[in-house]
């Protein structure tokens, strides 16, 4: 008898099985660590200690998670409309331009809480703008969005480097980056939030954009499951023909979904640009757009799932740093290995243990 359709209780489906998957991913990562001649257990304790062992570690973890929540939401919104947006990376990059321009223009004159909403809009607009052409090509010309968005990542990188090297650079400075924003262009750290839990943020750049990310997650949830537009996007996402039948305009819905997706990716820039380094730098996105794909998929494209998987990836990033810092033999790329294995086992192989679980569960119930 097939086990695929046997229902399992939620605590197994959403608790035990994912944990088991994670466990296997870490087991194999441990094997790699052992292969290099280091102690897997020590590495694991470093990972956890680095990411969660101190207020500062948690701050860094949440800082990374903030970026991943934005990009994860960006990927998810597009996926719900049946679009695979691989362009979050480039959209976030351009979003950085939007928010940096706002910060550069306003930081002399107004406090951060005035700059911030404008920067959110600026980052969102620029991110959306970068999604516009791929969206348009998909909607009107049927060009494959996966490919056009990949292309736009490269084009975006070229554009940004040009701007940073030739236009935005501070004359005489070596680094292709803008000037440092003043207070009015910097997002405050969330030290008080950490203090509430009795932890110290230290130097971690965990900042207000985390709250914006949570608000964005709420709005994405509202959009997808509670609005007419979300209903239309989901319809289009699973059945184009049903959408046509129901009078849901293809081009418009695709465009809106992609623009929203681009805007969410663009807002990611708030976190590193205004929340951490206080200036626009080359390559500040650092792959967060691609991590967003994994985050969204692991989070089942649901905002709550995305927040959790973003935090998981934040732990991997921060904890991985810690491992490579403490174990010089293990290069930082070990994070990529763990990340790959987590995606593999928790994502692609998520059902591997299901049949065994079903059998065990049935025996358990029979007994």
């Amino acid at each position: 008898m097939s086990t695929a359709s046997v229902p399992l209780p939620n605590w197994i489906n959403y608790g035990l099985i994912p944990l088991l998957n994670l466990f296997v991913a870490f087991l194999i990562s441990g094997f790699v660590v052992w292969l290099i001649g280091e102690s897997p257990l020590a590495a694991l304790s470093l990972l956890i200690d680095g990411a969660l062992g101190s207020g500062e570690g948690i701050g860094f973890t949440l800082y990374y998670a903030t970026s991943f929540i934005f990009t994860g939401l960006s990927v998810a919104v597009a996926i719900h409309a049946g679009l695979f947006n691989i362009g979050s990376e480039g959209q976030a990059y351009l979003g950085g331009l939007g928010c940096a321009l706002v910060a550069l223009a306003l930081d002399h004159y107004v406090p951060w809480y005035v700059t911030m909403p404008v920067a959110v809009v600026g980052a969102g607009l620029f991110g959306a703008a970068w999604a516009f052409i791929p969206a348009f090509l998909q909607a009107k010309r049927g060009s494959h969005i996966v490919i056009t968005t990949i292309m736009f990542n490269y084009i975006g990188a070229a554009l940004m480097v040009y701007l940073l090297v030739h236009v935005l650079i501070v004359p005489g400075k070596m680094a292709p980056e803008t000037r440092t924003f003043l207070e009015g262009g910097q997002l405050p750290k969330l030290g008080w939030l950490m203090n509430l839990f009795g932890a110290k943020l230290g130097a971690a750049p965990f900042n207000v954009s985390f709250l914006i990310a949570l608000i964005a997650a709420y709005f994405v949830w509202l959009l997808i499951w509670r609005t007419k537009l979300g209903f239309e996007m989901r319809t289009l996402g699973v059945s184009q023909s049903a959408a046509a039948y129901a009078g849901i305009p293809y081009a418009r819905t695709v465009m809106i979904a992609m623009l929203l997706s681009g805007a969410l990716a663009g807002m990611m820039a708030l976190n590193p640009v205004m929340g951490s380094s206080a200036r626009l730098q080359v390559e500040f996105v650092g792959g967060a757009g691609f991590v967003g794909i994994a985050v969204s998929l692991m989070g089942r494209n649901h905002p709550v799932g995305i927040i959790f998987s973003a935090i998981l990836f934040g732990i991997l990033y921060q904890g991985g740093d810690w491992i490579s810092f403490e174990m010089p033999n293990i290069t930082r790329e070990m994070i990529l290995v763990i990340q790959g294995l987590v995606i593999l086992f928790a994502g692609a192989l998520e059902y591997m243990f299901r049949p065994a679980m079903v059998r065990a569960y049935q025996q358990f119930k029979a007994a």
Partner: protein, 519 residues
Amino acid sequence: MAELLRHTPFSYLEPAVTDTPAIELVGIDKKFGAVHANKDINLTVTKGTIHGIIGENGAGKSTLMSIIYGFYHADSGEIRVNGNPVTVKDSQAAIATGIGMVHQHFMLVDNFTVLENIMLGAEGGALLAKGVSSARAELRRLEKDYGLEVNPDALIEELPVGLQQRVEILKAMYRGAEILILDEPTGVLTPAEADHLFKILRVLRDQGKTVILITHKLREIMAITDTVSVMRRGEMVATRKTSETTVEELAELMVGRRVLLRVQKGEANPGKVILSVRSLTVKDNRGVIMVDNVSFDVRAGEIVGIAGVAGNGQSELLEAIAGIRKPHSGEIFLDGQTIDKADPARLRELGLAHIPEDRHHMGLVLKFEEYENSVLGYHRNPGYSKGPLLDLDAIRKDAMEKIEKYDIRPPNPRLKTANFSGGNQQKIVVAREIERDPTALIIGQPTRGVDIGAIEFIHRRIIEMRDQGKAILLVSVELDEIRALSDRILVMFAGHVVGEKTPDAGEQTLGLMMAGIAA
């Protein structure tokens, strides 16, 4: 074995009817998760007969056949072929034992040619070149013997369904099938095509082959089978000699209660013209003209039926009226307003409801929960939304009311739509479209693949709508359905309306018109 059978000379004839069972099923049991699709099934099919199997949607017919064909595995039970127990571990094994199957949903590769489809799995060597010529020769022989003409080089996607089905039958014959299973083969055929199919089946039977035929249409069971078995909710409830049973008895066995087989309807009272089509020309996606300069009117309080063989432009006509397909030229009026440029959302506002031909691809989003489908297309209506938000409470309450009113089972608006049976899925669509109280209603294939109980219900609702003064345009390839429901019948052939008839016109007359022979 398959190889051997294929080359068995055609003249090899067995006595027409013997008492050897071709297939015996003993205690077959199958569960899909929580669904008990087959419960302890016993069945004997006599060699050289046509054995019908009927049952409501979801009764377990397809599952049982798939088990015989090795496509699914029974959880327990035994299969015997020609008296010998066999383990059908996969379809290859089934083919080897001489079993062929034409699936309810065709198992063809759309962008392959007929020949490639037939060769698939029986290529006769690692390189295609060798097999191709012998396959052609064999195909020609099969075509001649059974009247199964089809161009071997045509692409499947360009063939009408009737011909696609022929390819399926040819596939089975090419593999030397002695026992042929057909799962709802006539659902997509015109009467003439169905008759042709039956002729072929009789030829097969007369040559000693065994045929198992699944259908919802009792008329077909009576017309062609020798024996008939009835399934209900996973159980085999009865087996009868066809000559010793009646339609009424079978219907009752199937549904478990008495059913009304004829639609009761009074005289129509046509009012003013509601839907008016003028010189409409419509092209399909490839740019071929599918509807050619068609004009007609539908009045309030009447049902106009459009009869025709599938693929003669009915689908495109419906899609054009429903705003899904842009007309090439011509005009469409709804209650005096031009609507040929309106989109489906606008048309719904104007009071045009549309029950589409294909519930799986158009009418429903199978992955959605039932309540979501119950407002698909109407989700922007004020009653269902508050500002940009959906009013989920109102929607679910409304869905529940429809479920009760239309007896949709199971009565759970939170269930995924894919998990409803075909008949219940169709009821979801019908309920949604009818309950908005439209002025005009266009309907395509309202009862395709739907069981008798549901057909009865849907037909009654359509008549009620007419009696409430709605203008109804009905497209169906089921001539019986058209004749039973319509007040006027238009016949379409090759994109033209070739004539108008009243429902008492004979089946023969309509059939000839549908074939483009008479007008």
